[in-house]
């Protein structure tokens, strides 16, 4: 079934619906086999999909991005998760967020959801903390 030709055709289908912003998907009650395969394809597995020219725009890594990297690594160093769980959780963000968000915000959201899922923090705590940080940064400006 997964002949190279079949897979190449599947890749075209995946690209036709990713990111989902481009294609209105409106809860159909029936769906073709080809489209099912394309939609259930694991998001990060992009090798071989057609795409445009390489965008060589440089990105100067922001302090929050570097700190996010360090936070994710510290969480793994201290046994709260491993890097593969982070990658799985990036996939779990879904196609639209995976491709539309800046690279390190995927890491950050994966870490946030993990901390909530495992009960290390509660949504209330996080919302309160974000408000505290927001107030602090506003008053520092």
């Amino acid at each position: 079934m997964n002949s190279p030709r079949h897979y190449a055709a599947l890749l075209d289908s995946i690209r036709a619906h990713a990111p989902s912003e481009r294609h209105e998907a409106d809860l159909p009650l029936t769906i073709s086999q080809r489209r099912t395969e394309a939609l259930l394809h694991v998001v990060h597995d992009v090798g071989g999909q057609p795409d445009g020219p390489i965008d060589k725009t440089q990105h100067k890594i922001a302090p929050w991005e570097e700190r996010t990297h360090a936070t994710c690594e510290c969480l793994a160093w201290r046994g709260i998760w491993v890097s593969e769980e982070r990658r799985r959780r990036e996939n779990d963000l879904g196609e639209t967020l995976y491709f539309a968000l800046p690279y390190y915000s995927r890491w950050l959201l994966a870490a946030t959801h993990m901390l909530l899922d495992k009960g290390h923090i509660t949504p209330d705590e996080l919302i309160a903390k974000m408000e505290e940080v927001r107030r602090r940064e506003e008053s520092a400006e």
Binding site: H44, D45, G48, Q58, T71, C72, T122, K129
Partner: protein, 342 residues
């Protein structure tokens, strides 16, 4: 049961950031209605949804809104209403001021970054990003983790200091030494991690056992006249970070990940590298624990160069395999009109 509100009270639905699962609809936030029904104490859905099945119990209320209050610009009839339920913590006594404006302001900033695809020249622009929401989330997460003892502030500081020490110059030293010393090259190809340490790149840092994402299994791929190597990670952006520092943005973006495994010669041509037809192009897709670095060929015209001078032409891209070293193309200057990605 202690209730804060009674039938007939005017209440406003709290307008707090909605990053997470809740049953409180966005269209009700910040709006004022009247309590028209009392419900028992139930476990709030915001706890149930995250696995706290025996979580906080709160009294629930049925609240009636005027359609015109919810949707003021849609011409609804004055007598039309909408009713829906809330747990107590979502409600507060009616606001006297216009509610919700503060959060609306905070959300107004557009976090999108440039998605232009037309930059390919030698002076590729630097992406400007407004990321204040991520900034705030990052600070909140880090401070919560530290306050709960998941890791220490010192752990975090050690990682941040480590970043200051990694970069492509580590790889440049490895390549220059391999060019200058054949015995070193033999050791490098046999035990890459140990050979890196000889020139001061320690894959065990900063934890003593390496980093969680980079692992400690390195394969150095030697280019020859018959073989050109290039590295990618189609599934994320695995990269020999301890040796080359953070990966370039194009390495993380999907187009490179998608195309290099299927159309490698075309992609290399976009980087200005035409591989001769009788040279094999070998793509290394780092999908598991192994990390790869390309050992490029030493260009002619470098006889008698010192090891230090040799490092100057070993750019990051030559160690990824999307470029080859040129004597007129150094880590600090490119020839006029050259296509270059930094």
């Amino acid at each position: 049961m202690n209730r804060k509100f009674k039938i007939g009270d005017k209440v406003t639905v709290r307008d707090v950031p909605s990053l997470f699962h809740t049953r409180t609809q966005g269209y009700t936030r910040g709006h004022t209605g009247e309590i028209v029904g009392l419900r028992p104490e139930w476990v709030i859905p915001e706890d149930e949804a995250w696995g706290r099945y025996e979580g906080r119990r709160e009294p629930f209320y049925m609240v009636r809104f005027k359609q015109r209050e919810l949707w003021p610009d849609d011409g609804g009839a004055e007598i039309d209403m909408l009713e829906t339920e809330f747990s107590e913590s979502w409600l507060e006594p009616q606001f006297s001021e216009v509610p919700g404006t503060r959060f609306a302001d905070a959300r107004a900033g557009d976090n999108s970054v440039s998605d232009s695809h037309e930059h390919e020249d030698a002076h590729a622009p630097i992406e400007e990003a407004e990321t204040s929401e991520f900034d705030i989330l990052e600070t909140a997460i880090r401070e919560l983790c530290i306050s709960k003892g998941l890791f220490s502030a010192d752990d975090h500081r050690r990682f941040m200091e480590w970043y200051d020490h990694i970069g492509p110059m580590g790889g440049s030293r490895v390549v220059a030494r391999a060019w200058a010393d054949p015995q070193y090259k033999t050791r490098l190809l046999a035990d890459s991690i140990a050979a890196c340490k000889e020139v001061g790149v320690d894959w065990m840092q900063p934890t003593g056992q390496g980093t969680p994402s980079d692992f400690t299994w390195l394969v150095v791929c030697e280019n020859t006249p018959q073989l050109h190597n290039v590295i990618v990670c189609t599934l994320c952006s695995c990269y020999p970070r301890p040796l080359l520092g953070p990966s370039p943005a194009w390495y993380e973006r999907p187009s490179y990940r998608r195309r290099i495994v299927r159309w490698p010669r075309q992609v290399l041509a976009e980087f200005g590298l035409i591989v001769p037809p009788d040279t094999e192009v070998r793509v290394h897709d780092s999908n598991q624990k192994t990390r790869y670095m390309v050992l490029p060929m030493r260009p002619s015209g470098t006889d008698g160069w010192s090891e230090k001078r040799l490092t100057s032409i070993v750019t990051r891209d030559t160690m990824i395999g999307v470029a080859v070293p040129r004597i007129d193309w150094t880590t600090s200057s490119a020839p006029p009109g050259a296509t270059r990605s930094a």
